[in-house]
């Protein structure tokens, strides 16, 4: 027998699994014992089995760059990531704090704009944001909640410190993989699972529905909630179906809805039925062709009027994107201090503001050490990984930064932590991040549901599914 865990090489990064001496950390000891007792070939067999189950179930995402819109399964790594309770309670407090502060920030910049008047952050940063939505100025959203669902990205530096890399306040995806991964892993390692007793993830849909129902217009006691999807070709369509099914709400496309006298209805076989809350998984720009992109066929004509008339709740609120604009990100610690009077619990990654001349000069002359991100793009698109980029790519980014500095930020490369991952026939360290989800209803709720993404390519620091990333089940431990 050739055990799965034999020699595990340590790299010069923080490793989740083992300490500097290569000894498994306390919360990984049980997993280590199991991995030492499993034969590699038998394990490969399990992996194949899991992949065929995922394909049959249709646990897939669509890759846009591929012209055929191929459905792929998100590579699922069977080795679970374990988060001990102490770390989880820090994460929980830290991300809840951020969401509360950012929610207050949104209410402010679309309302009294105190933070701008007091010059705590530069007004032009907000007003120049592509995601600042003038339709929302002066409109009070139901129950003052903007960010019903968010999923920030956390990474760990060389000393194991958790940093917030991005806030993702628009339509973060990934929760369906958390639910599916857990299901698959439970079947693959029932005994191990029983010993660890990680916190269950399957009540996430109920908690999400609670938050959504809370955003119904005042006076509606039993709101009708729908999930609005762009349709079957969207990369996250699978997730939309999972959530709609598990929440027991209708999954609708734009053409299923219509607005009449500022009331939103869905077209059913029994006529029109009123809709009170829309959990939309389409971007602001496509919501309503009357107000945004006129050629959008994904949205609903007249929806913004109905929203502004207070006849329907939309989650997340329109215009939340400004708070997770990458150019606003450097100001989040200040936003926390301003609205909550607290120090940030989780630090930001140091970030260079390219609109500031000295900082921009530093960035353009150190592109080979930095990661540059376009503030208008997400999901790993429009990004430069300095050290691995070609000279031509760097030159192209330099030119683009000089031309429109507001569109870029730069960050030092954070050496993401590593985690044992199945690579061929062995376990090897691969870089990972963590995406926990925060729900905001009548109170802030952080369910123990986090997605661990893993960069499957050797040495790669990019974990996005569109760029060759995979995922792991994430076990949050109780005390």
């Amino acid at each position: 027998m050739q055990p799965l865990l034999d020699e595990y090489p340590l790299l010069d990064f923080f490793d989740e699994f083992a300490d500097e001496l290569g000894v498994p950390r306390a919360h990984y000891a049980g997993l280590a014992a199991t991995l030492r007792s499993i034969d590699i070939t038998e394990f490969r067999h399990r992996v194949d089995l899991v992949n065929s189950v995922l394909l049959q179930r249709g646990v897939t995402f669509t890759v846009y760059s591929d012209s055929r819109g191929t459905e792929r399964i998100l590579p699922f790594d069977l080795i679970p990531r374990i988060v001990p309770s102490g770390e989880w309670s820090l994460i929980k407090r830290g991300i809840a704090q951020r969401v509360m502060a950012l929610n207050a920030f949104l209410g402010d910049i679309y309302g009294p704009q105190r933070i701008l008047h007091e010059r705590r952050i530069p007004a032009e940063m907000v007003f120049s944001s592509k995601f600042y939505n003038r339709e929302m100025i002066g409109f009070r959203v139901p129950r003052d909640v903007y960010i019903h669902v968010s999923g920030c990205d956390l990474i760990r530096g060389r000393d194991g410190t958790y940093y917030v890399l991005e806030d993702n306040l628009r339509t973060p995806s990934g929760i369906s993989y958390v639910l599916e991964n857990r299901d698959v892993l439970k079947r693959s390692f029932p005994r191990l699972f029983e010993n660890y007793q990680p916190l269950p993830v399957d009540d996430y849909p109920r908690r999400l529905l609670d938050a959504l129902r809370h955003s119904a217009p005042a006076g509606v006691s039993d709101p009708v909630v729908v999930l609005l999807t762009p349709g079957i070709y969207n990369s996250a369509y699978f997730e939309h179906t999972v959530l709609a099914r598990r929440m027991g709400v209708e999954l609708v496309e734009g053409s299923d809805l219509l607005v009449h006298d500022n009331i939103v209805y869905m077209k059913t076989t029994k006529g029109l039925q009123r809709v009170d809350v829309i959990y939309r998984r389409i971007d602001d720009d496509y919501l309503d062709p009357l107000v945004f992109k006129a050629d959008s066929t994904l949205g609903v004509t007249g929806l913004m009027n109905a929203y502004r008339a207070g006849a329907v709740g939309i989650a997340n609120a329109v215009g939340t994107g400004v708070a997770d604009d990458k150019a606003i990100y450097p100001f989040v610690p200040e936003i926390i201090r301003f609205y909550l009077g607290e120090e940030p619990i989780l630090p930001n990654v140091p970030t260079y503001d390219c609109t500031d001349d000295p900082q921009r000069r530093y960035v353009t002359s150190h592109l080979d050490e930095l990661v540059v991100k376009n503030t208008n793009q997400s999901g790993g698109y429009g990004m430069l990984m300095g050290p691995s980029a070609s000279a031509a790519e760097r030159a192209r980014f330099k030119e683009a930064i000089e031309a429109s500095p507001r569109d870029f930020i730069a960050q030092p490369i954070i050496p993401l932590s590593c985690h044992p991952t199945i690579v061929g026939e062995t376990l090897a360290p691969r870089h990972i991040d963590l995406r926990p989800f925060v729900l905001l209803g009548d109170q802030v709720d952080v369910p123990p549901t986090a997605l661990t993404r893993v960069a499957l390519t050797d040495g790669s620091l990019v974990v996005n599914s569109s760029q060759g990333g995979g995922s792991k089940d994430t076990w949050v431990l109780d005390d």
Binding site: R57, G58, E250, V252, E253, T269
Partner: protein, 312 residues
């Protein structure tokens, strides 16, 4: 329930049913025409021309190329993607409908259909040729039939299921009619009757019901008018009628929309017509007329429940 969802369920169900019937038709006829010596090429060509008509494929049998007529015709009806009625096309359409209503389907229903899709997509004329089409066709048929069973066992029997029933039985009635339309009523040789019964999955039920009767008219009456054989035209029409009435909650025998009116009228005719009258008109003509009326039911369901113009 959303109109779009009802429409997708209806088409999903129709296409699975069609793939199932087509798989059986191909299996029955492939085995009867593959034997080169026994069956003359002319007879084989006649059979495949009729199969193409049942399958809605407009190719000229005489122009088919390939090792044998049977294999070439089988390939055309199975793998051709230029026709929306080949087995592969039907399953693709059904699966894409299923995908668009994924949130409404039970996991079991989805996995069954997705499994069928993945199975069929993984096949090619070459891979099937190795062991002959029979086991492939059998898998398609079995899975499509299992699909119906899983639907019945895992979907609540309310509107969602009613639309699935309508799709299933309307398609089945239409396919039985298309098979009968292509039957040569002047040929009363035993093997022609047997072929007809087998294509309708009726040879055993008929034998049981008729105690080995060899009267061709009895077999025709069985396929057209039997009260409880689940592929007879009358039975299928009745199921469509019942599902429509369950949806609208209108009393049977009355109607509240065009779909119910058209179906009810056809149902009444089938309840009271006698087999002698059908044969006087000509069984094939009667079947052809029925197929047209089934299409009319389809259009009226479309306009009653899935209107193209936005409601309101």
């Amino acid at each position: 329930m959303l109109s779009r969802v009802a429409e997708s369920l209806y088409w999903m169900s129709r296409n699975v049913e069609r793939a199932e019937t087509l798989a059986r038709i191909l299996d029955v006829n492939y085995n009867r025409t593959v034997d080169r010596n026994a069956a003359g090429r002319e007879r084989a060509a006649r059979i495949w021309r009729s199969v193409f008509d049942m399958a809605g494929i407009s190719a000229d049998v005489e122009l088919l190329e390939g090792a044998s007529l049977a294999s070439a015709a089988f390939e055309r009806c199975t793998f051709s993607t230029e026709y929306r009625t080949s087995i592969v096309s039907c399953i693709r359409i059904a699966r894409s409908n299923a995908l668009s209503v994924r949130a409404e389907l039970s996991t079991e229903v989805w996995e069954c259909l997705n499994g069928l899709y993945l199975f069929v997509e993984a096949q090619s004329p070459r891979s099937v040729a190795r062991e002959g089409p029979s086991s492939f066709l059998r898998s398609v048929r079995d899975t499509a039939q299992a699909f119906g069973g899983i639907v019945d066992a895992t979907v609540s029997h309310d509107d969602e299921w009613n639309f699935l029933q309508i799709g299933r039985y309307l398609e089945r009635a239409a396919m039985t009619a298309r098979i009968l339309r292509n039957h040569d009523f002047s040929d009363d040789s035993a093997h022609e009757w047997q072929r007809l019964l087998e294509m309708c999955c009726a040879s055993e039920p008929f034998a049981k019901a008729q105690r080995l009767s060899s009267d061709p008219n009895e077999a025709l009456a069985f396929l057209f008018l039997h009260r409880s054989f689940p592929r007879s035209i009358r039975f299928c029409t009745h199921e469509v009628d019942r599902a429509l009435h369950r949806i609208s909650e209108t009393a049977m025998g009355a109607y509240s929309n065009e779909a119910e009116r058209v179906t009810g009228r056809l149902q009444a005719m089938l309840d009271f017509v006698q087999i002698g009258e059908i044969l006087d008109e000509g069984g094939d003509r009667f079947a052809a007329r029925f197929a047209e009326r089934a299409d009319a039911i389809g259009s009226s369901i479309q306009s009653s429940y899935f209107p193209r113009v936005p409601v309101g």
